[in-house]
């Protein structure tokens, strides 16, 4: 599969000033901007990094360049939401999509383990929904509270979940706003600190699971975000990352985007 992608990238280097992908370097793997003449053999497909954040930073730094990006399903969904919010210029980006493997889809509980038009890889069957979601959703209230309080009490306030999230591109973050969260407390105040992000994820989260993978306290964050994604789909019929034209409903009036129940 990687050979096909390297070829696609090489070809895209004709029309693009550079292609954002992963590169093996200094004994590890990191995002990189491949440009003409770079050694494509060094390109890798994993471990994953939110490449769309790199695209966004490059688009802002160089208003004229045209980029390609090697993207999985979740990267493309992240791109859709970021383009909608003017963080990436769709006219200056070409997506070189590839499908995840079946195991990756299972591991990520991913519903759409492939971009819309993958250049390589056959889209596997979608992964099962995260079993934890059903489990914690069915817990009685007290158990749910004690579970989440125990989980959040492990939080060391590293802001990793926000830093790694492609959708968290704000200049100033409400989680650092003294009005909402008293600074410098460990663990950060329950429930303010974590619910701010959960609410923002309602109309933005594309389920790439990076937040959960980067949490040093191993808190099952995406259980909350999956529930929020379910709610916004049920209440407002909106699926983040699905359609670049669809405006996120929370900003619109009831006429423009009615409540479904």
């Amino acid at each position: 599969m990687i050979a096909a992608i390297r070829e696609a990238v090489a070809e895209r280097l004709g029309s693009c000033d550079g292609v954002v992908a992963l590169r093996r370097r200094n004994g590890g793997v990191a995002p990189h901007l491949f440009q003409k003449g770079d050694e494509l053999a060094e390109m890798e497909l994993s471990p994953r990094y939110p490449l769309m954040t790199v695209v966004s930073r490059l688009h802002k730094a160089f208003p004229a360049i045209r980029l390609g990006v090697v993207a999985r399903g979740c990267d493309e969904r992240a791109y859709v939401e970021m383009a909608k919010r003017n963080q990436i210029d769709p006219t200056r980006l070409e997506i070189i999509g590839f499908a995840c493997t079946a195991e990756e889809a299972q591991a990520c509980y991913c519903r759409e383990p492939s971009p819309k038009h993958p250049v390589a890889g056959t889209p596997p069957a979608p992964g099962p929904p995260n079993p934890l979601v059903a489990k914690y959703d069915s817990l009685p209230l007290e158990e749910r509270r004690s579970f989440w309080k125990k989980q959040f009490s492990k939080c060391i306030k590293c802001y990793g979940c926000r830093n790694i999230c492609p959708e968290c591109f704000c200049e100033a973050c409400a989680m650092e706003d003294m009005a909402w969260v008293e600074p410098g407390l460990l663990a950060p105040p329950f429930p303010t600190f974590h619910l701010i992000r959960a609410m923002h994820m309602a109309s933005r989260c594309v389920a790439c699971r990076e937040c959960e993978h980067t949490c040093p306290a191993y808190i099952p964050l995406t259980v909350l975000y999956d529930l929020m994604r379910r709610d916004i789909a049920d209440l407002l019929g909106y699926i983040p990352g699905a359609d670049i034209e669809a405006q996120q409903p929370l900003s619109l009036s009831l006429e423009q985007a009615p409540l479904k129940k």
Binding site: N26, K154, I156, C158, L185, Y218
Partner: protein, 539 residues
């Protein structure tokens, strides 16, 4: 650390954490412990403060600061009296067990309870938990070492590990968590008055000869001065010059009034740093060094893990990487052997002269990412954990250690015990973290943690500040009232020069290690006027 960090997650069946606020001091090691807990490992936390790591512990044992040896001896007392010790390991690989056993037998749980405040049955349960779940790792940090009885504490920990055969196997060991990114490396590289690189003693003529030949000249075989002695030295004139690189004694040293007094009298003080720290402001010459992203090199982590540091940007203005400054200065003094083109070449010289770093090179690091020393040869894979099969000194030595009171205990005048320590959001004297906007905004200024009972005793009201006095000085601070600390104990982080905890601490030091007793001193507190009522939130 005798063992490596990943083993905590993969192999340890019990982790005893004593004197380490792991979540704040070593967050990603705490992360491994969180994972280990999920795998079923048992966690015991012994600390005067109910720190965050304690919240996921199976057993949390608060105790009186300074009573570490008593608690450790108490644990060993229970293990021996219930026959849980590893008799085979003791027989085969240790010596002087009898003397230690004789001392330990005096520390019955009841006596330990009286000394340290740890309930007897809790002590018994903890001892059984540690002994019965092998391999068991002991993790500790400055909470153990920064005492006048620091060396005794560490010896007791070693005793406990050897008693239960928890050495030389994966997931076990005696694991000091070194506080700084390269404190292990600095020690390895001979940054100590008593050893050459690789812990080759200065007092050994062979070592002296080795370096004499290698360098064309070296010092005599008399152990040099420690930090504390150097500071006192410039104070009383025995030392005429002091060259400080990347250190800030004006905030880090104990008894800061004394330190300021001495440093101000230094005849010639050179400070090489990246900021004009409190110490640099007193210097005669200040040399602008480079930050870690402005130079190549290696750091050695707490588990003897050597990893590369790579240059990302150029130093600002005319600042220069520290290794270049030292080389230029040496050449200026006419010394040979300092014309290195890059740190890579320096490492090659280190590998030649330091047995434990023998097999370490930039090429290998580029490929493997890291290497654990000792790594004697170029094909050696490195040593994740030490003392496999045999102790480097031959037989593991037990030490008979008696409990000694800390240098200064609370009394009527100064009824509270002050302990100092680290915060998650800051690092050491704060010269870097307080200049990082995202860290500064979390904890912009110093505070003191006090128990509600102590707060009530001085009729403290929300929004008020307090003044903390010790026999050495006083500072004013914000207050955080929390149940997560033992009544009678107060905690102050030492990152804040304007309210330096070390103004209060005393300079009494451990006789052997000469490490000051930051963790225990006696203070008193009084409330002062209300600072503009900050919304403290529902603390």
């Amino acid at each position: 650390m005798t063992n490596s960090i990943p083993e905590l997650e993969t192999d340890s069946r019990c982790i005893l954490i004593m004197g380490s606020n792991t979540s704040e001091g070593h967050p990603l090691i705490a992360s491994r412990i969180v994972k280990a807990k999920e795998r079923g490992a048992r966690v015991i936390v012994i600390d005067p403060r109910d720190i965050q790591i304690a919240r996921l512990a199976d057993m949390y044992i608060p105790f009186r600061p300074g009573a570490d040896v008593a608690v450790l001896n108490g644990l060993m007392n229970v293990i021996i009296s219930e026959g849980l010790e590893d008799k085979e390991f003791i027989a085969a690989r240790t010596e002087a067990y009898a003397e230690m056993k004789a001392v330990v037998e005096k520390y019955t749980p009841e006596r330990v309870q009286e000394i340290s405040g740890v309930p007897a049955d809790m002590l018994r349960e903890a001892a059984r938990l540690y002994a019965r779940n092998k391999p068991a790792a002991i993790v500790y940090a400055m909470g153990i070492t920064q005492h006048t009885t620091g060396v005794d504490n560490v010896k007791s920990i070693a005793n406990l590990a050897m008693l239960t055969g928890n050495l030389g196997i994966a997931g076990a060991g005696v694991n000091p968590l070194r506080g700084q990114n390269n404190v292990q490396g600095a020690c390895d590289m001979g940054g100590l008055p008593n050893v050459y690189p690789g812990y080759q003693a200065v007092t050994s003529p062979d070592a002296q000869k080795k370096f004499q030949d290698a360098w064309g000249g070296t010092a005599d075989t008399v152990v040099g001065l420690t930090v504390m002695e150097m500071v006192n030295g410039v104070g009383d004139g025995t030392l005429r010059a002091l060259y400080v690189m990347g250190e800030n004694p004006m905030v880090a040293d104990p008894d800061l009034h004394h330190a300021r007094h001495c440093l101000e009298k230094a005849e010639f003080l050179v400070v090489q740093d990246i900021f004009l720290t409190e110490t640099a402001q007193l210097a005669h010459v200040v040399l602008p060094g480079g930050a870690f992203v402005e130079k190549d090199g290696t750091f050695t982590g707490t588990d003897r893990r050597v990893q590369r540091v790579r240059k990302v940007v150029n130093p600002p203005g005319n600042a220069m990487a520290d290794w270049e400054i030292t080389c230029r200065l040496a050449q200026r003094l006419g010394a040979g052997g300092f014309d290195f083109a890059s740190p890579k070449e320096v490492m090659e010289e280190i590998a030649r002269l330091t047995p434990s770093y023998g097999g370490i090179s930039y090429e290998r690091l580029e490929e493997l990412g890291f290497l654990h020393w000792p790594c004697p040869a170029a094909d050696h894979p490195g040593t994740p954990y030490l003392h496999k099969g045999k102790f480097s000194r031959g037989q593991g030595q037990f030490h008979a250690v008696e409990f000694k009171e800390p240098a200064e205990s609370p009394d009527q005048d100064y009824p509270l015990t002050l302990t100092t320590g680290r915060l998650m959001f800051h690092f050491h004297t704060g010269s870097m973290t307080r200049r990082s906007e995202k860290l500064h905004q979390e904890v912009p200024e110093a505070y003191v943690e006090i128990h509600p009972d102590d707060a009530a005793r001085i009729s403290f009201k929300r929004g008020q500040r307090v003044r903390v006095h010790s026999r050495r000085g006083q500072i004013e601070l914000d207050v955080r009232v929390t149940k997560r600390i033992k009544p009678g104990v107060v905690f102050i982080p030492f990152h804040f020069a304007e309210a330096a905890a070390n103004v209060l601490t005393h300079a009494a030091i451990d006789p052997t290690a000469k490490i000051p007793e930051y963790k225990v001193c006696a203070v008193k507190m009084e409330t002062i006027g209300v600072k503009e009522a900050k919304s403290q939130g529902p603390s």
